[in-house]
Amino acid sequence: SKCVYTYKEHRDPMLKKRDDFEDILEERRNSSDLKYALRCYTPVLYKGVTPCTSSMLKSMVLQSDQLHYVINQVSKETGKATDDIKEEASAILEEMAQCLQLSTVRFFAFTLSKAFKTLFRSICVNEDGIQRLQQAIQEHPVVLLPSHRSYMDFLLMSYILYTYDVALPVIAAGMDFMGMKFVGEMLRMSGAFFIRRSFGGDKLYWALFSEYVKTMLKNGFAPVEFFLEGTRSRTSKSLTPKLGLLNIVMDPFLKGEVFDVNVVPVSISYERVLEETLYARELLGIPKPKESTSGLFKARKILSEDYGSIHVYFGQPVSVRSLAQGKVNRCQFNLVPRHIPRRPSEDIASFVNDSAYRLVRAQEENMVLKPWVLVASLLLQYHHQNQAAGQKRGIALGELTAQAVWLRDLSRQYGAFLHWPGTVVTQVFTIILLALLEQGLYFFELLSQAVILLSCASYRNQALHVFVRPALLALAIHTASSNQKQEVFNSFSFLRNMFSNEFILCPGATVQDFEEACYLLVKTGALQFTQQEVLVTERGHRTLAFLSTMLDPFLQGYQVVCRFLCEEATETLTEKQFIPAVRKFIKKLLLAGFYLLLFLRFSFVCVCVFFFTSAFYKMHNCVLCVCVCVCVCVLSR
């Protein structure tokens, strides 16, 4: 059978070599910020750079063949005069374009230094990664892909690059920021360009936007930075990638307009995200406050809190050329002029999609995990069990410590990038626990308890990528009707498909994922393989139990939505009505005393809702029923 265990030694995640970190705030604490902000800044540029200004870029875009073509097309379709459309285009571009200015950057360098020093204990950066980045920038146009957990991300990126004398990026930002008086313009002058959240049908907008990004990239004006996940992840779990911008930045390579494009995944791990409680509230249905300058001022109280440290890991630059090697036939662009916009062919669409997943995985791999994350995972599992048993007691500190050490070793073997502060384990936990208690882990009031638990869950989520494949296997073994390898694989494959929008699971890589999971579980002595069967070892039970419990909240989330769809949903539910309706449904369940712990999984419900909304319209009802059955059957064991 195809699912034989062949995961090779050399892919052992434990052997992954990672760079050392350097704290950039340390120097800031010891020397003048003003001097730092005014220092000489001479970054290395792309060797093929055509020097140009922001305004030249705009005119290049407006004069491009692509735009001419689209303008003529739009003019034909709408009957508007081309001149009018040109003016419209020019206005859109004006609204979109960045105007990177060093003086603004210097201003930010100064103020951010002050702010960062108050907020964070350290900002740790891998300097080797910076050096690789510098090299990459010189060789080819570069795309920076940071993970997105906080508004801070792009300010932080530019701040770090400025500190290391690396070329400052231009950043794709949501239009929301532009609404902020003054701040929007400041961001624009520090390299942000603004895009509308949705412009699906607007040909002109799409042409302008893609041409603008491509022009900056091709000319080596600056590295282009955007967030693959499209939006901030509210749950600390990587979101499935959005492909629009990735398509755009890969296009110049595919069409031969540049020799190669280097894509650099950047993993930013926060010990504590600034928006922590905000996210939890948002997940509970309290709308996100609109971005505004006054809001920013009101939020200044966060300055008084401690947000720990940040780890920023610049990953290995990935050459798009080598990614595309053997996957894309570039000759397909030979028969039609390249400036005529065309829907990407099937092989390109799947190539971009695959690459996107690989890149998000590359981000995940280098996310630094704190002890906190592991402890949160353990605490949540205990909490659930206690709740289910109707108890309201905590866990003994000694036991928790022992558990955490066990989990630490396990996650190391699974290749987690742990940042474990020496041997003072107990001390660390004590601090954490105290913090938890202070914030009211055992409050009885529904809303605040939920907020705390959701925050906890979001810590747990940071470690999900380490465990997700083995966890799926553990669950598969649990649910499979027999120990036959093929059975287990089938069940794994079903679960994996079901969760394909929940976790970062590269499409079409079921066999690889299965092999990876088998390899890890065999390596840690939890599983044994015979010719035909999969056997759980004596000491493997604990690992498997932990792993499958990790996925429980997700399963339950899906289950509730399925129940809702079966029991309550009417055919005419729109997407807007859907989420509040599910919320109401869950509230009803909770009040009826059903599964009290379900409340915790609220977040996941929200996340998976989008998946199910589309599923609701597209999928056949019986498929949904299968989902439900499996969820229920898993839970009933």
């Binding site: 093929g48 020799f259 036939n329 000759c331």
Partner: protein
Amino acid sequence: MASNSSSDRQRIAQQRLRIIAGHLRAPVDSDSTILAAECKAQGSKTDVSSERKTVPRRRQEILKWNGWGYSDTRFLFNKKGQAEFTGKRYRLSGMIIPALQNWFEGTFGASVQHKSPAMPILTSSAVQPPTLNEAFVDELKSTGIPCSHDAEDRVFRGHGHCLHEVFALREGKVGRVPDIVVWPNCHNDVVKIVELACKHNVCLIPYGGGTSVSSALECPPEETRCIVSLDTSQMNRILWIDEKNLTAHVEAGIVGQELERLLNESGYCTGHEPDSMEFSSLGGWVATRASGMKKNIYGNIEDLVVHVKMVTPQGVIEKGCQCPRMSTGPDIHHFIMGSEGTLGVVTEVTMKIRPMPEYQKYGSVVFPNFEQGVACLREVAKQRCAPASIRLMDNEQFKFGHALKPQVSSIFTSFLDGLKKFYITKFKGFDPDRLCVATLLFEGDREKVLQHEKQVYDIAAKFGGLAAGEDNGQRGYMLTFVIAYLRDLGMDYYVIGESFETSVPWDRVLDICRNVKARIIQECKDKGVQFSPLSTCRVTQTYDAGACVYFYFAFNYRGLSDPVHVYEQVEHAAREEILANGGSLSHHHGVGKLRKEWMRETISDVGMGMLKSVKNYVDPKNIFGNRNLI
């Protein structure tokens, strides 16, 4: 009146001869005509009608057996380490080239101390004894057509000038070579040979000038039949000239320089000047769809050919008239042109001829960068005012050309050069590491040439181009003729290289140049080449819809265990890159066996089927079994 005008014409012809000889020959001094004659015809003094042997049957008497060109002409680094070009045949011959050593060592990280000399002579033990088809040989001998199975003769016809072929020869390695060489003297001889070959089932491989760079002359190793190399070099007469229609009927074995020289004597020219014209033959041009440097005025081979006669196993194929154009179904000439010796032997060709141009002028333009240069060429093509030749060299090639400047005789010239350099780099602000140069060749009436020249320079000025003198232009064209000799020099010092070409639409020119050059550099790095290679290109032809681009690529192979294999991998990658960037498989070198693997994607399955069905009909027994093309 009549006699007057004819003597006038002769005088003008003499004068034109001197001019046209320019880029091929030794310095124009008092006895330039004599030198010119020496260059093209080994000093024989006969006229058009008499039989002439530009290329003797024993080619090795005047040509290198394991390198390019004439035995007496080569580059070498003398005891002082200065480069020298030996012989008397070229303008550069006998001169010292002071800058070459520095350029060579700097570009390749090579050293004139580290030699990698070739095997001086061929050991006949390296050559497999011939597989002879006795019955065929007996009947062939009874026809009286000269033939030989001498090892040297056979080895000489078993290769073209691909890098791997020459490299193997330099190491004294010989693979499968033809078993017999025959020298037909006329069309009828060929008919007899082909008949005999069919009768006795032997394999025929036509051989013209031997300048192939597509492995087209390599004998297929799997061929078990007796392989006969059919050398057309003795079929080299102009059979008639038709001055009313301006056509000439020529035997296909004639080599380019001989054809031009003979026609020049009557005041005509074909204007077809491929870079290999000293050695390549008319039949070879037809069989590979050759292109000439001056195609802008005279056209490529397909524009020049009026009538072709080809001997195939099914008989002789030719049109029944000499008409300028016909609407009679697909043009059968297009089955012949580009057939690469797989269907038959081209024996006679009627070609268009033109009166010799009255005036010829070189020129050059310096551009601040390659992009501007390409934009200018595109504009020239758009306005359809391209001179006889216009070529754009990139920065690396400009420097290369510069390194080939012969020693200057006077302080004044070197002062002028310095001044020129100062003007361009300092006053005009051109970056010496980015600027590039276009070389130009104008031909025609004096007045028109001057007018044309002005038009082109005006366009160039719009793209920031500065006229940079005739000398630069002329040296640019000289590079074409000596480049193959330079490769031999490189191979003496651990440097191997090759050139290859493509054609590409205008909007792709810049992209393909950049990407292919970068790909070569990257592949070399990946394959363990220690020193960054020379990777350079030039745009050599302009068309309405695109251009022809030529790449040079060479590297220092010290430290590599199998340099030829590395070379082949890099060239393969470069060709893939060309195709991925919308370039063609070949513009004029042909497919041969080297590029066969890409034919299907180039011409589609149906296209392949069409070619194969033609082959199956014309040559069902695969008598013309060189296995090129399909």
